[in-house]
C-alpha cells in the first residue's frame, strides 16, 4: 500500500485511537519506523486525543504494582550501589536483573578498604543464593593476598558449552576478569597488583555466564548471575 498523505492521515488517527488492529496495525508500525512524516502525524494525534484522558478520574493503584515494578527492574535490591551513571554499573545492574534473585555477601576482615592489606589480614566470604541453603562458593584470600581461593560448595555446573567467569568490578571503568570458575574444584586465582587494588577499593565481585573458555572479548558478554558487594565487618 502506498503512503499517500490521505492514507497516512487517516491511518495515523485510527492507530492512535486504537481502532486499527491486527496486521493493519503492525503494517502501520512499520510505516512509522520508515517515515518521519508518518511519526509526526501519529504524534499529532497522540497529543490531540491525549487531551481526552484529562477527564478520566484518577484511581489509586494497589501498592503491589510498585513492588512488582521494583522487583522487575531491580531484583537484587541490596547489591546495587548508588544510582547515577558510574562507569559500567547501570548496565551491569540491569544485566543482573535477568538472573535469579541472588543475595551474595562477602565478609571483609579488613578495617581500611583503601589501604592495601596488612600482612596477615585477608578477605573471606561466601557467595550465597537465596533459595539454596549452602553457599555456592566460599571465597578467601590466601598466600599473603596474592591469591583468591574459591571453593565451590553448592554451585552447580554451568550448562553445556558455557562457563562461569569471575570479575572484579571497579567503582568506575571496565570489570577485570579473574578467569573462569570451575565447579567441583578449588580455584586459585592469582591476583595481580591491579586486581588486588581494585578489589580492595570496590569490594565488588561478579560472576557472569560466558561461552566455554570465558568471554571472548575481555568484557562480560553473558548474563551477570551474581553481583556481590563486599561488606566490612
Amino acid at each position: 500500500m502506498k503512503k499517500t498523505p490521505e492514507r497516512i492521515e487517516s491511518l495515523a488517527a485510527e492507530y492512535v485511537l486504537g481502532s486499527l488492529k491486527g496486521q493493519a496495525r503492525s503494517r502501520f508500525e512499520r510505516w512509522m519506523m520508515e517515515s518521519g512524516r508518518v511519526r509526526q502525524e501519529v504524534w499529532y494525534w497522540e497529543e490531540k486525543l491525549g487531551q481526552l484522558s484529562d477527564q478520566v478520574p484518577a484511581r489509586e493503584p494497589p501498592a503491589s504494582v510498585w513492588q512488582a515494578i521494583e522487583h522487575q527492574l531491580w531484583p537484587q535490591k541490596p547489591a546495587v550501589p548508588s544510582t547515577g551513571g558510574r562507569g559500567l554499573w547501570p548496565a551491569w545492574s540491569l544485566m543482573a536483573t535477568a538472573a535469579a534473585l541472588v543475595l551474595a555477601v562477602i565478609l571483609v576482615q579488613q578495617p581500611d578498604p583503601q589501604a592495601l592489606p596488612e600482612p596477615g589480614s585477608r578477605l573471606s566470604g561466601a557467595i550465597v543464593q537465596a533459595d539454596v541453603s549452602d553457599p555456592l562458593w566460599l571465597v578467601s584470600e590466601s598466600g599473603g593476598q596474592r591469591h583468591l581461593r574459591m571453593r565451590s560448595v553448592a554451585a552447580s555446573s554451568a550448562q553445556t558449552g558455557k562457563d562461569y567467569e569471575l570479575w572484579v568490578v571497579p567503582a568506575e571503568g571496565n570489570p577485570l576478569s579473574l578467569g573462569v570458575v570451575l565447579v567441583g574444584d578449588v580455584l586459585q586465582v592469582k591476583l595481580t597488583d591491579e586486581a588486588r587494588t581494585m578489589l580492595h577499593e570496590s569490594r565488588t565481585l561478579a560472576i557472569s555466564l560466558e561461552p566455554e573458555g570465558g568471554s571472548p572479548t575481555g568484557a562480560p558478554t553473558g548474563p551477570v548471575l551474581h553481583v556481590t558487594r563486599l561488606h566490612e565487618l
Partner: protein, 187 residues
C-alpha cells in the same frame, strides 16, 4: 492556533524524565507517586478489568524507565506521552487476552441499554470541552464511536454491536469523524 492547556506540572515531569534517563531511581519513584493514579484511572477505564489495568500500569512504568531518554517535545507533553504508553499497552493486553470475550457481552449489553447511549454523560461532556469544542461539530454517532474507541477500546466489531449498526457504517463514522475533527482543529 490554540495553545493546549498548560500542565502546571509539566516542568516538574520534564525534570523527572531527564533524571530517569540518567538512571535516577529516586526520580523514578517520585514520578510514580505523581502520575500512577492518573495512569491507573485511564487503564481501568479502558480495560474494565483490574488485573489487566494493573499489568498495563506495571509494564508502562518499566517502559518509561527504559525509554525516558526518547521523550522529546514533538511527542506532546511529558504526561500525555506517558499516558499514551500506558494506553497502548492496555489495548495490547486487552486484545491479546480477548478481554471482551470473557464477560464482555454483558458489559456491552449494559452499555446499549443506557438511555443516553453507550457513553457516560460525564465523559461525553468532558470530551466536548477538550479538543477546543471540535467534537461538538461531529454528528452524534461519529463522536460516540470515537469516544467509545478512545475510552473503552472498543474494536470495530464491538462498536457495531454496541451501536447496532453494520461494521462498514461504523468504520466510516470513525474515519470521517476523525478527519472532520482534524479540519476543525486546524482552523
Amino acid at each position: 492556533m490554540t495553545i493546549t492547556t498548560r500542565d502546571p506540572d509539566r516542568e516538574e515531569l520534564m525534570r523527572l524524565l531527564l533524571a530517569i534517563a540518567r538512571s535516577d531511581r529516586r526520580a523514578f519513584q517520585q514520578l510514580y507517586q505523581k502520575i500512577s493514579a492518573r495512569m491507573f484511572g485511564l487503564c481501568m477505564k479502558l480495560a474494565g478489568q483490574r488485573e489487566v489495568a494493573e499489568e498495563a500500569l506495571q509494564d508502562a512504568f518499566v517502559q518509561i524507565w527504559h525509554h525516558a531518554s526518547e521523550y522529546h517535545s514533538d511527542r506532546g507533553s511529558p504526561l500525555s506521552w506517558m499516558l499514551t504508553i500506558a494506553r497502548y499497552r492496555t489495548l495490547d493486553l486487552m486484545r491479546s487476552r480477548a478481554v471482551r470475550r470473557t464477560g464482555g457481552e454483558e458489559h456491552l449489553e449494559h452499555l446499549e441499554d443506557q438511555r443516553s447511549g453507550p457513553l457516560d454523560e460525564s465523559l461525553r461532556n468532558a470530551g466536548a470541552k477538550q479538543l477546543t469544542g471540535c467534537l461538538d461539530e461531529l454528528s452524534d454517532v461519529q463522536r460516540d464511536s470515537i469516544l467509545l474507541s478512545y475510552y473503552r477500546g472498543l474494536t470495530h466489531d464491538e462498536l457495531a454491536m454496541a451501536l447496532s449498526s453494520p461494521i462498514g457504517t461504523v468504520k466510516s463514522w470513525i474515519r470521517r469523524g476523525l478527519m472532520a475533527l482534524k479540519r476543525c482543529l486546524e482552523r
